[in-house]
């Protein structure tokens, strides 16, 4: 069955490997350039004791490559749509599932091998892209200290692997339920975007209780993820702006500035929690797929 799965998805594997190789070459070349660019700039400004403004004056790399790197946000969605959705749906649609299921393999074996290999491939592919991007972003993150921000957080570290597993599992499940490739594609894309958006906006900020610091001019550790800021008054009343609504200044009325944030030290904990969350969702989707494929009439 592994042999058959390989023959069926050989083209996917080859295209994927080629794309990965191209990306790797591009990122390696530009990444090395950016690293040396960064180190020279640091050396120069350290000597002149003028490194404070570096973040706003130095731009590393090119806009085009930077844009491409941001686009890797879409990698899990692509995997879900092109590798996940057709896996079961296409076979159900064309009827080749009937051919396969009347050979001397059980549906369970068929599904396990097909889904197993594709999930593994998706995780590996996304992991490779993430590793490249994380390495490439090193100088930029050191400069801008924005690794924890949504947009950067999502394309580095281990979360892309979790997203890829989720998207692929969603594609497979959608295909098994709708039995047709095109509806499965649509459901996968929409479902993935919705899930990612909702979790990033509504759930991620709460993985651990955020820290709030108040004062006249509160400071947060560098590289932290700022969730909210404004003015907080007696009785907990919050003014979201910097006090411009207070006509003669807010401080005399007992307002103090605050910033709610997640400290940079929690970056890896958050990566771990979010990855685990998406892996659990992926597992649930695979369970749904198994029930649908194994129990339903062919």
């Amino acid at each position: 069955m592994t042999w058959l799965a390989w023959r069926q998805h050989r083209t996917h594997a080859i295209v994927g490997a080629a794309a990965l190789a191209a990306l790797a070459v591009l990122l390696l070349i530009t990444g090395l350039q950016m690293a040396s660019q960064y180190h020279s700039a640091i050396a120069a400004c350290t000597a002149a004791h003028r490194c404070g403004n570096l973040a706003s004056t130095l731009f590393l790399g090119s806009h085009a490559v930077g844009f491409l790197v941001i686009m890797t946000l879409g990698v899990p969605a692509l995997l879900g749509v092109f590798w996940g959705a057709p896996l079961v749906a296409q076979e159900l649609e064309t009827g080749t599932s009937q051919f396969a299921w009347m050979q001397t393999i059980t549906r369970k074996h068929w599904l396990t091998v097909k889904a197993g290999w594709i999930l593994l491939a998706a995780a590996a592919w996304a992991g490779a892209v993430s590793a490249l991007v994380t390495w490439w972003s090193g100088p930029d993150n050191a400069l801008q200290l924005d690794a924890f921000k949504p947009g950067r957080f999502d394309i580095t570290g281990i979360v892309p692997v979790g997203y890829a597993l989720f998207a692929t599992a969603l594609g497979i499940a959608a295909g098994a339920v709708t039995r047709r490739t095109v509806p499965a594609l649509a459901v996968t894309l929409a479902g993935f975007i919705a899930a990612r958006f909702m979790i990033t906006e509504l759930v991620r900020p709460h993985y651990m209780t955020a820290i709030t610091t108040t004062g006249t001019s509160p400071q947060v550790p560098p590289g932290s993820w700022q969730l909210a800021q404004g003015m907080i008054g007696p009785g907990g009343k919050v003014l979201p702006t910097d006090g411009s609504t207070c006509t003669s200044g807010c401080v005399p009325h007992g307002y103090r500035a605050f910033i709610t944030y997640q400290p940079a030290s929690r970056y890896w904990a958050f990566q771990g929690i979010e990855t685990a969350l998406f892996v659990v969702l992926a597992a649930a989707l695979i369970a749904v797929t198994a029930i649908v494929v194994l129990r339903r009439d062919a």
Partner: protein, 299 residues
């Protein structure tokens, strides 16, 4: 000897529509059984229930003594060829033979290759580019290479030209002649089936109308032609399948319960096609041929 296929009061519904109702059939070993019936009668449903691709709503089904199930032992013994001949269109026949070798413990690749080459079917060409007849032969060769003990075929020759049909049935019959194989194939084309099949399962309106050895079934039926008169005596003694009346003449197709003792009527044998049409037409009324009526209806 236990029959290879046995069902008892088998029923299946899809989305509120009854596909198969109260079906009880048996197929003895070594038979080539013809599953005949109009579209929508439940032929495909019955084959899917026998193969294990679908599960019964109610009733029992036993193939080779066991319930159809997702189990390598069962799957190795039972072959199924679906109506639209699903194959991997981009793969060649040789690829499919290799696939079969990987997925089946008992696999006779040599016989499949030999069958296809003797028919002149190219092994190295993508299966999607072959003609309908050639694809059907590829699918049959693959199903036979598995060396099943039961083979279920859903309208395998429907889309084939006469030569391709003949070749397909010849290869099928030869495989049965080797021994150890029982076949059920569904079709509309009665004349082909009459030649190759020796067992009949007739479905109409989702029910089994006839099930048995073809020669026996034909011997049980007779056409009685005679003057138009009161036929209730005959109808009570035997089962009326179809009655055709003109003002002067009555034609009755009956299933005999014992000999027919009515000198007014001339009895002739029934052919398979005529018999099948009679049973299939039981619910339908044929318009414009004004004098035809369905069984039980008297004008």
């Amino acid at each position: 000897m236990t029959p290879v296929i046995e069902t008892r009061r088998l029923s299946k519904r899809y989305r509120g529509v009854t596909a198969l109702s109260d079906c009880t059939i048996t197929v003895p070993e070594g038979r080539i059984a013809a599953l005949i019936g109009p579209n929508g009668a439940g032929k495909t449903t019955l084959l899917r229930l026998l193969s294990g691709l679908a599960k019964p709503g109610s009733g029992e089904v036993a193939v080779l003594g066991g319930t159809p199930r997702q189990d390598p032992a069962f799957l190795a013994d039972v072959g199924f060829l679906a109506q639209d001949i699903p194959l991997y269109r981009r793969f060649t026949a040789a690829d499919h033979i290799a696939i079969g070798g990987h997925l089946n413990p008992r696999w006779d690749a040599a016989s499949a290759r030999q069958r296809l080459t003797s028919l002149g079917i190219p092994l190295g060409q993508a299966v999607g580019t072959l003609s309908g007849g050639q694809r059907a032969q590829v699918a049959l060769a693959l199903t036979l290479a598995k060396r099943p003990r039961v083979l279920l075929l859903d309208e395998p020759v429907a889309a084939l030209d006469p030569l391709a049909r003949r070749q397909f049935l010849a290869i099928l019959a030869e495989a049965v002649a080797r021994g150890g194989l029982t076949v059920v194939l569904s079709s509309h084309l009665v004349t082909d089936l009459e030649r190759t099949c020796d067992h009949l399962i007739l479905l109409a309106s989702s029910r089994v109308q006839l099930c048995g050895d073809i020669d026996t079934v034909l011997a049980e039926h007779q056409v009685l032609v005679g003057p138009r008169k009161d036929t209730t005596a005959i109808e009570k003694a035997h089962t009326l399948v179809q009655a055709t009346h003109t003002p002067r003449q009555a034609t009755l197709l009956i299933r005999r319960n014992g000999p027919v003792i009515d000198p007014a009527f001339q009895a002739t044998d029934v052919g398979l096609e005529e018999l099948v049409l009679a049973y299939m037409g039981q619910d339908a009324t044929i318009p414009a041929l004004g004098h035809l009526t369905a069984a039980g209806d008297d004008q």
